[in-house]
Amino acid sequence: MSAAPLVSLRDVSVRYGPATPRVLGHVTLDLMAGDRLAVIGESGSGKSTLALALAGLLPKGAAAEGRIAWPGLGEKPLPGRDIGIVYQDPSGSLDPVMRIGDQVAEVVAAHAAGPTDRSPREQAVELLARVELPDPANLARSYPHQLSGGQRQRVALALALAGRPRVLVADEATSALDPVVQSRLVGLIGRLCDEEGLALVFVTHDIALAASLASRLAVVYAGRLVEIGPRGRVLAHPRHPYTRALMAAHLGLDRPPGGRLATVEGSPPDLASPPPGCRFAPRCSLAVAGCTSGDPPWYGEPDDGAACVFAERLAP
């Protein structure tokens, strides 16, 4: 791809407040138009911070080092207009005392470029139809508490699309939903991105879900980007032991029958005092003495590689 990336991160680190540990360190990443990038990581891995950094929505107290740029968008994105975001909690992100239609119309009106032939209210109903909510005209008059969790998240999706953005960031947007509703919503997100030509950043802890939707996978561990690459390559030939462990956990070899979400053995490190060298080393089955001295080298291209001394040997 030769066009300028929509978002470009170069060696970006983020901390919340002066005396707090870095929640994200030295991340380099490009998001191109039409990209479908999944960011995969455990909770506390910094994946949500990465999503906020991409969207230019880091909170006021956060300090970012490195360079975050939006060359494909012109300048720093206006919230909602250039980048739409859907949060994890479908009930928390909606105003409980305002009608659904008014909430959507409000965002439409906030981004209206000039006079249009249709009122924000009418456009709101259309948006609700686009996210495949039943009887949108009627639903526009209801309040959030009258909707199911899945319906609410569709409304949140409509709200994210209301400003006609070019990038959609879904931060664990489907995690709080049950599997059937989740897979329907994921399908909808995929279709909408195709139809609108939206670039997608899909943040999740679920590598299987990520694989079903994204064309590129980025794996984050303890604040570091440990692997990134096209979906096919990463799934077929993961180069980082952590990615392999995530996949093994999901392929279900050690999953108890009918069991719940599988996880990688051990727990992620405390970011306040990370282990020396590779942060995954304490949990890594391949770790050798050298892993704990100095950051692991990046093997491969910036958009297709991994941060591990064994990456070359794990490569096909």
Binding site: P79, S93, D95, E106, H145, A162
Partner: protein
Amino acid sequence: MRRALSLVRRRLLGAIPVLALVIVGTFTLLEFAPGDAVDAYLGATGGDRGLVDQLRRDWGLDQGPLQRLGLYVAALARLDLGWSVAFSKPVLTVILERLPNTLLLMGAAIALAFGLGSLLGVVAGSRPGSATDRALSIGSLALYAIPGFWLGLVLIIVFAVQLRWLPSGGIETIASGLGGLARAGDIARHLVLPVSALGLLYLALYLRMMRTSMAEVWRQDFARAALARGVPRRRVLWRHVARNALLPLVTMLGLQAATMLGGSVVIESVFAVPGLGRLAHEAVAQRDTPLLLGIILVGALVVILVNLAVDVAYAALDPRVGSGKETAA
């Protein structure tokens, strides 16, 4: 609408035992007070021993306490609150003459406290920690410590005695011959000082509550999400944050109704406003127990009705109240 109606029905049913307890309470106080209704009645009109016994029998006062309570309740059901010695009139008549003034005073004070208080609370809570916020915080804390009746006296000294801008008491100019709008204006001028004296403390209360409430709503996801969606900050402030922050204040309004009615006793006495509160003071001064207890009863009724109105208002403001998981109609 159906939601509001069923709410009203539920609240009214809930008020019955409460009102019954209040009635038993006033009856008990009446029993303990020296003298009975016959003494009160004859104290005003005069009469001999025979008449006293006759009346006691006629009114059932020679019976046991339970029967007397029954008679008391039966009388209340006929809207008979007893006889006021001090005014030589039925208690209810006296009360109804005074009630409108108190309602006017209370209504205006609530409007001032709630309206201006929540508005200033929004101003303070829109940028927590700013100079405006700190000034309003300190000001409201000081105001919150000022007794209303003393504030009333200070207001009289400044605005009635020194500046001579406003009348120092009464509800309207006596025998002014004014009518219509001119009379309303005259009453409004008389109400400025008492309403301020009664309302400013609550204004401080609502300001502080609104500020706290705003800070809590700002921390909620939907406020942050609205900003992330590009809704202008000013609009998020008013339509989302302030609107949601207002809800606990409305609840508080109902709780404060009783306190405010109590406060109006002193304020009405300071400003010589002929209302229910001053009537209570007069009843105490003249040892007119039936009148005082009638005022308590009517006061409780007013509080119940104000709470009912507050509940209905709350239901209108918060669609989540009293609704199950029904879909939009």
